[in-house]
């Protein structure tokens, strides 16, 4: 199982990379960490005619905190983030999600932005950025830079709002805010495997205990990360007793797929359960955060 032949370009500047994408369009594939692309090429599930390897771009591995967000550059490896306590502290949901992403060796190589651009519907990082309401920075030579809200970025199985000539140059994950609590839950058939169902949750509490925001996303249940419509539960004081109802509401409109890893029925049961667990933990951590504020 070895890849089909392809033309290989290893640009030394972003402009050069963008020019290549503009030239080759949908023939070209951007190679960053390669942890999804190369196995797919090995298995001949992907046969790009042109590979644009962005690993040698100079600007690319930045991870920095700015304006209430964590900005992750296009070549920041998942393990770079995992090894950076400041970053993990800034975005607790990422800290919880990252250990579920593949194995240590694949995180050493795989990039955060690459995982977003790959848009696997059961992947952890797309789910996290949707729940955090982050944004993806795309650039093309023709139209320059645009920011795409995470909610609009993922379109379907391995499909994003990126145009053929665009590249993801960074992603912005909103940092921890006062009164917020976060939780990530995932279930895979075996350690290190893709999630059968994953749930990310973020809850914001007012100092008086009223939930001002309840955001909950589900991975592995649809063709893209699914953000549950839970606005009805905002503006209320939430107790543990409310959580089964919220969890049920969160999965009410999903139509999960059936495949080798699990039936639709099982995925739904799993989603309900993990949603409740995530809500419980997110609420508890939000309360702790509020108590911290009160002191």
């Amino acid at each position: 199982m070895k890849p089909a032949p392809f033309d290989y370009y290893c640009p030394r500047s972003l402009d050069e990379a963008l020019a290549l994408l503009a030239q080759y369009g949908d023939e070209a594939k951007v190679l960053a960490g390669g942890q999804s692309l190369v196995p797919a090429m090995n298995m001949r599930l992907a046969r790009p005619g042109v590979i644009v390897d962005v690993n040698r771009l100079p600007e690319a591995a930045v991870i920095e905190r700015c304006d209430g967000s964590l900005r992750v550059g296009m070549l920041a490896r998942q393990a770079d983030l995992e090894r950076m306590p400041v970053a993990l502290d800034a975005v607790p949901l990422l800290a919880q999600a990252l250990p579920h992403v593949g194995h240590w060796q694949t995180r050493n190589r795989g990039t955060v932005c690459g995982s977003l651009a790959h848009a696997d519907p059961s992947a952890e990082l797309p789910l996290a950025i949707v729940v955090l309401d982050g944004a993806i920075e795309a650039r093309s030579s023709a139209r320059g830079t645009r920011w795409i809200a995470a909610g609009q970025f993922f379109e379907s199985y391995f499909q994003t709002a990126l145009q053929n000539d665009e590249i993801v140059v960074g992603a912005s994950f909103p940092a921890r805010r006062e009164g917020w609590g976060y939780a990530f839950e995932e279930f895979a058939g075996r350690h290190g495997d893709f999630a059968i169902v994953a749930v990310a949750c973020a809850v914001a509490l007012e100092p008086n205990g009223v939930a001002s925001e309840v955001r909950l996303g589900l991975g592995g249940v649809a063709d893209k990360p699914h953000l549950a419509p839970l606005t009805a539960y905002c503006g209320r004081v939430l107790s543990q007793r409310d959580l089964p109802e919220i969890a049920n509401a969160a999965v009410a409109d999903i139509e999960p797929p059936s495949d080798l890893r699990g039936s639709a029925r099982y995925r739904r049961a799993l989603a309900t359960n993990l949603a409740q667990r995530a809500l419980t933990r997110a609420l508890a951590s939000a309360r702790t955060a509020c108590d911290g504020l009160a002191q």
């Binding site: 199982m1 070895k2 089909a4 032949p5 298995m43 001949r44 279930f187 058939g189 075996r190 350690h191 290190g192 495997d193 080798l260 890893r261 699990g262 039936s263 029925r265 099982y266 049961a269 799993l270 359960n273 993990l274």
Partner: protein
């Protein structure tokens, strides 16, 4: 010597080579002028090849030849004996299963051959395939290893009808692929009419004879070398299609050829454990004494072979049951030929029988361990022969004590740890030991150093460490003065390294040769002459050995935690105690048991080859979707060796230890899941969805 040599946990002599990556497996070898072959496999499971267009492939860079049914050398693909299989050597256009070889691309580099293989366009006349066990044509095989496909002792129907308590349940085990970490690989080189083969095989002589028949040449013209084998578990026991295909490709190319089977192709033509459907009936008195056992097995076989998974062996040969009936029925499917996989028969049969015994224990309100003890058999219940040795009672006691079985609350769903349900279960392990004729040559030089030669192989079991230990013990010299040479057909003939027989066969031949050498030494006042001694002998089991039944035994105890909301099962503790007769090396033996237990856990929770019902294609032919456990899925496993001599088994006094560990361990896990949840899973694997109701 102050320390006994035999049984000592000596470090593996080939360990340094393995930890430094210097040891060569088949695919690591390079021969000058060598080119690469890649098999094109079918994408349908039933039908005929209508046309092959290889023009694009032929003109791809580096391509030397594309071998198809049109230009493949004519060879004999028929099987040579009942245990062999029909090979798929591009001699015709019929397609019987998914991933059957239909062409071979030969090119200068592996990448070029792989690319060319993908350019071969095959058009098929497709017929609907049959891959569901229930749908295949059913028949009783002529024989199962020389025994009839139906057999009874006593009056099972009457006894079952009269029994105070009866139970009849159906248990299912899925298709499982061996997936050793090293995939199959072959290098073939013709020198005139002589053929040299490097092959990842459990049996160099088997490859030699099969190729001799296929090519119609003298076996002596074929030299087979098995470098270190990267795991096998049964799938490297037979000569499969790619081995002669590599030789045919080498003939066509006029150059040496390397053919490496890819991981997805490991789900093709190289064998698998067949799926089974087993109906077990138990009839017992109120005190748990078994009056009757029936065991009826339906298992799959391919369109052109009759492979029987001998699951019945476990129920037939273990408990003291006066009335017994078994049957083996086969179902013909569009699958490749099933074959032996670690613990063939007993691994699948023990899941059914030991699950049924667990069900009976709850029906009667008798402790599962106590139920086994009440049916303990001093003799082989089927033949009536005494066992060569049996320390199963000691296994039960030691493992139960270590596990803390007596503290268990027998009530189902009675124990929890946080939100997890906790359960424990046990099962018996049993696996027959065999012995086949084996030849060894032993040389002692004037300096007293010894060379032992035998054409067996090393697949992880510790061959080059263990047999020198055995010889050294008898010769009363340090084991490092004995060197073991193995792995090619120039050496004295050894039987297949499978079926729990290598310790019994190679070990016995080494013992007999060492004893003779010792006599020679004694007759020379303990000093070898200037030109040394040499002993070469063929050792065969004497007729009196058949007076005893030889089986390895063991007891498994498993603890699981089940998440009642998600249905996940995690094995949290496992204790196994085993009677493997005389232990030749405590370190390698313990490791065999550990590995076997983990195979059982894997069988219980993970492994499952899935066929698409409509296309007959395998849907999870890779290591990302065919699940084998990772380190993080496995708990601490404790192994207790109940060692002791076995004077009647064979001269080595050793029983087979490579397979007994998997026999019963899946049932122990399933029984623990029942104890934790009250849910009885009778079809493996125990996936979370089966526990969410």
């Amino acid at each position: 010597m102050s320390q006994p040599v035999l049984g000592a946990p000596l470090d593996r002599v080939e360990g340094p080579g393995k930890v430094t990556g210097r040891i060569a497996y088949t695919a690591d070898n390079d021969i000058p002028g060598m080119v690469h072959a890649v098999v094109v496999e079918s994408t349908i499971a039933n039908g005929r090849i209508a046309a092959i267009d290889e023009s694009a492939a032929r003109s791809a860079p580096g391509v030397i030849a594309i071998m198809t049914p049109r230009n493949a050398p004519r060879v004999d693909a028929r099987k040579v004996d009942a245990n062999d299989s029909l090979l798929f050597l591009l001699q015709g256009d019929a397609v019987e299963f998914d991933r059957q070889p239909v062409a071979v691309a030969i090119a200068e580099t592996f990448e070029q051959a792989t690319y060319a293989a993908r350019l071969v366009r095959v058009r098929y006349d497709v017929r609907p395939p049959t891959t569901a066990l229930a749908s295949g044509e059913r028949f009783l095989p002529d024989q199962i290893f020389g025994k009839p496909a139906q057999h009874k002792r006593g009056m099972p129907e009457d006894a079952f009808a009269r029994a105070a308590v009866t139970l009849k349940q159906t248990y299912r085990t899925p298709t499982e692929h061996h997936n050793p970490m090293e995939t199959h690989a072959t290098i073939a080189q013709w020198t005139g009419d002589r053929l040299t083969i490097y092959d990842a095989t459990q049996w160099v002589f088997g490859v030699q004879h099969r190729l001799a028949a296929t090519f119609g040449i003298d076996p002596k013209a074929i030299r087979v070398v098995a470098p270190f084998v990267g795991g096998a578990f049964g799938c490297k026991g037979q000569t499969w299609s790619h081995v002669p295909l590599a030789a045919m490709a080498a003939r066509l190319a006029g150059r040496p050829v390397k053919l490496v089977v890819t991981r997805p192709q490991m789900f093709g033509w190289v064998g698998h454990r067949p799926q089974t459907e087993q109906v077990v009936g138990l009839g017992a008195a109120r005190d748990g004494t078994l009056a009757a056992v029936t065991h009826d097995v339906l298992s799959e076989t391919s369109m052109s072979d009759e492979f029987v998974e001998p699951s019945v062996v476990f129920s037939r040969d273990l408990y003291a049951v006066p009335n017994y009936a078994m049957s083996d029925t086969l179902s013909r499917l569009n699958i490749s030929k099933p074959t032996y996989q670690r613990g063939p028969g007993e691994s699948t049969g023990s899941f059914a029988m030991e699950s049924a015994m667990d069900e009976l224990s709850y029906a009667l309100g008798i402790d599962p361990l106590e139920l086994r003890l009440r049916n303990y058999s001093a003799n082989d219940p089927d033949s009536g022969k005494p066992y060569s040795s049996k320390r199963l009672r000691e296994c039960y006691a030691a493992a139960a004590a270590q596990f803390g079985w007596s503290a268990r609350n027998p009530k189902v769903r009675s124990t929890s740890r946080g939100r997890m349900l906790v359960g424990s279960g046990m099962a018996t392990a049993s696996r027959a030991t065999h012995r086949s004729p084996c030849t060894v040559r032993m040389r002692m030089n004037a300096d007293g150093n010894v060379l032992v030669q035998c054409g067996t192989i090393e697949q992880g079991t510790g061959t080059p460490t263990v047999y020198p230990q055995l010889a050294a013990e008898i010769l009363e010299i340090p084991p490092e003065r004995v060197r073991f040479e193995f792995g090619n057909t120039d050496l004295p003939a050894a039987p297949i390294a499978a079926g729990s027989q290598t310790s019994g066969s190679v070990g016995s031949a080494v013992v007999v040769a060492a004893r003779r050498m010792r006599e020679l030494l004694v007759s020379h006042d303990g000093k070898p002459p200037a030109d040394g001694f040499e002993v070469e002998l063929e050792d065969s089991p004497p007729p009196e050995e058949a007076e005893h039944a030889t089986q390895a035994f063991g007891a498994h105890f498993a603890e699981v935690e089940v998440d009642p909301d998600l249905g996940t099962v995690r094995v949290t503790r496992f204790v196994g105690a085993f009677d493997g007769g005389r232990i030749l090396n405590a370190k390698t033996a313990r490791s065999q048991m550990l590995g076997g237990i983990v195979w059982g856990i894997s069988m219980a929770l993970f492994e499952d080859t899935r066929y698409d019902a409509r296309s007959g294609r395998i849907m999870n032919a890779n290591l990302s979707e065919y699940l084998v456990p990772t380190n993080a899925d496995i708990p601490d496993v404790e192994v207790i060796l109940i060692a002791g001599d076995d004077p009647f088994a064979n001269p080595a006094g050793a029983k087979g230890i490579g397979e007994v560990g998997i026999c019963g361990s899946a049932a122990a896990v399933a029984n623990a899941v029942y104890h934790a949840t009250g849910i009885r899973i009778r079809d493996l694997p125990i996936t979370p969805d089966k526990l969410i109701r």
